[in-house]
């Protein structure tokens, strides 16, 4: 008897995400975000999503530009030194998108409370800031009766669907992140009901058996595997390729001209059907040459 295959087309995998779902995006800032999965959410016209994105930029910005988002739950959304995330900024300022703001560790603690089935996780993070005043229900200021120490009780933040990007997977759903899980993806995978993984490549199960210590997620934590080379583009996938500064430049410039952004958005983001067509619209081979990493 053989085991179930978890490989899936991107369309089928993303069809599992219902409107109104709480999704969580893996990666951090310009690193390892599942951008191809994000683009497919936009293409399928998802609505009213609650997007948990601990530290993010372009992923949140695309989902907002695509009209998919009801609320962003995040610690930071920006393009780092390349500026603010334009559609995020506009939508929050206009009140058309809710923002539930936390700090990085408060979000980690809330996800871990959900993942480990405890009523809350205590931390000193956030003490004395205005961040904890925003959400007194989910980040409660409490005092330990015995030690007299103050702490923030972070309540569970359950996730419906985690979307993460990886380097390698087998068809059973075992996943490998190279060199190891450097960001907070494990936190969202552990907190999620369903996990969809995009992967640079599908490799044989034998490769996993040869180096079992390199496996990041076991098959039972993963529900769908979608093979998408350069699936994090325009962001990076260490150690294979880096983020594309040029994309950020033209994107930010286009967003600064609202009358022209629609055309850019259609041509570069929503128009291309397959991921191959999408990469072609980004400049194809010359872009791939530009972003590849040579050192590890």
């Amino acid at each position: 008897m053989s085991r179930m295959k978890k490989t899936s087309s991107i369309e089928e995998a993303i069809a599992r995400v219902p409107d109104g779902a709480t999704i969580a995006l893996g990666g951090l800032s310009m690193n390892s975000t599942p951008m191809a999965l994000v683009r497919e959410l936009v293409r399928q016209g998802k609505k009213d999503l609650v997007v948990v994105a601990i530290v993010n930029g372009l992923g949140v910005d695309w989902l907002i530009a695509g009209g998919c988002v009801r609320r962003v739950v995040s610690g930071l959304v920006s393009f780092e030194g390349m500026g603010l995330a334009p559609n995020f900024r506009k939508a929050v300022e206009a009140g058309s998108c809710e923002l539930e703001e936390y700090s990085e560790y408060l979000l980690i603690a809330r996800l871990r409370a959900a993942a480990t089935h405890v009523p809350f996780i205590p931390t000193k993070a956030g003490l004395g800031t205005d961040v904890i005043k925003l959400h007194p229900d989910t980040t409660r200021l409490e005092v330990d009766q015995v030690s007299g120490e103050s702490y923030i009780a972070c309540t569970p933040l359950p996730v419906d669907v985690a979307l993460v990007h990886a380097n390698e997977a087998d068809s059973l759903g075992n996943v490998r992140v190279n060199p190891k899980l450097v960001w907070m993806d494990n936190e969202i995978v552990n907190a999620a009901e369903t996990t969809i993984v995009s992967t640079e490549r599908i490799i044989s199960h034998r490769d996993f058996l040869a180096e079992p210590h390199r496996t990041t997620y076991p098959r039972f934590m993963v529900d769908a595997i979608v093979e998408i080379p350069w699936g994090a583009y325009p962001n990076s996938c260490f150690p294979e390729y880096t983020h594309d500064t040029e994309f950020y430049d033209v994107y930010s410039k286009a967003a600064a001209q609202p009358e022209k952004f629609g055309e850019f958005w259609e041509q570069r983001i929503t128009g291309p059907v397959s991921h191959t067509e999408f990469m072609g619209a980004q400049g194809g081979t010359s872009t791939l040459m530009r972003i590849r990493r040579t050192s590890t």
Partner: protein, 263 residues
């Protein structure tokens, strides 16, 4: 640029670097070219034991040059360890094993608290900023906090923050210690001067003026009243030729640090 002459970015990096020593165990967040240069410079000069985790991930990294992001893999080369973020980084940060963090903000108040969330009212902001990221966390966990700003002006150094994204000395005095938090802000290095914090009030206090900068100039650029030190106000020590050479040739040969200065 010749030795003997130096630019403001170089003065800021060298000044910050001299504040670090062999017990410094640091890491960095986004858009942190000045402190990243300072950690590397300190490590290459007087503090070889200094620990720096590039992007909080790549411990003891030795990048040949910096890239356009201090959060990305471009600065991870030569590391002795690539750490896992929740399992390693947050344990070291919470446990006091990392002891040094530098941040800046869109607004900074006299107690070294920072705002990176909104300009204007929170619910109807004039500008929605990125958010504090790890500021609210690390401000609470890390005992030695350093602040920097490449644009010392009254819009940044404000009487009252629109939102406190990260804590410095809190409401001043013993507030931070009363919350059970370790240490607090040590120094604030700007393009005009160096400030530390009065040991009682924990309010920002002039330590030294950069060469050619007057006290009035700093006062006008600051939205709150600065504490003055006893006695004469010092002038910030100039960088040594050897510091400038290492910064220019080894630490940041492509001058990525200038990204923090609006052209």
């Amino acid at each position: 640029m010749n030795p003997g002459t130096y630019s403001i970015d170089e003065l800021m990096v060298v000044t910050l670097a001299r504040a670090f020593d062999n017990t410094t165990r640091a890491f960095n967040g986004a858009v942190s070219f000045i402190p990243v240069c300072a950690y590397l410079l300190a490590r290459k000069t007087h503090a070889p034991e200094l620990v720096w985790a590039a992007s909080s991930i790549a411990i003891d990294a030795e990048p040949a040059q910096l890239g356009e992001s201090t959060l990305s893999d471009s600065i991870w080369d030569g590391a002795a360890m690539l750490a896992n973020s929740p399992f390693d980084f947050w344990a070291y940060a919470q446990g006091g094993h990392y002891n040094t963090f530098a941040f800046r903000g869109a607004q900074i108040d006299r107690f070294g608290n920072v705002n990176n969330s909104v300009i204007g009212p929170y619910d109807t902001p004039k500008v929605r900023l990125p958010g504090g990221g790890g500021m609210a966390d690390l401000g609470c966990m890390i005992p030695r906090i350093y602040l920097w700003s490449t644009t010392h002006n009254p819009r940044i150094f404000v009487e009252k923050l629109d939102f406190r994204s990260g804590i410095g000395w809190g409401d001043g005095g013993n507030h931070r210690a009363d919350l059970g938090l370790p240490g607090g802000p040590q120094l604030c290095v700007t393009n005009l001067c160096v400030m530390d914090f009065n040991l009682e009030s924990r309010s920002m206090q002039i330590r030294s003026l950069h060469p050619g900068v007057s006290l009035d100039q700093v006062r006008e650029a600051t939205g709150f009243e600065l504490v003055l030190p006893d006695g004469e106000i010092a002038i910030t020590d100039a960088p040594l030729d050897e510091e400038l050479r290492i910064l220019r040739e080894e630490v940041d040969p492509t001058s990525e640090r200038l990204r923090e200065f609006t052209p």
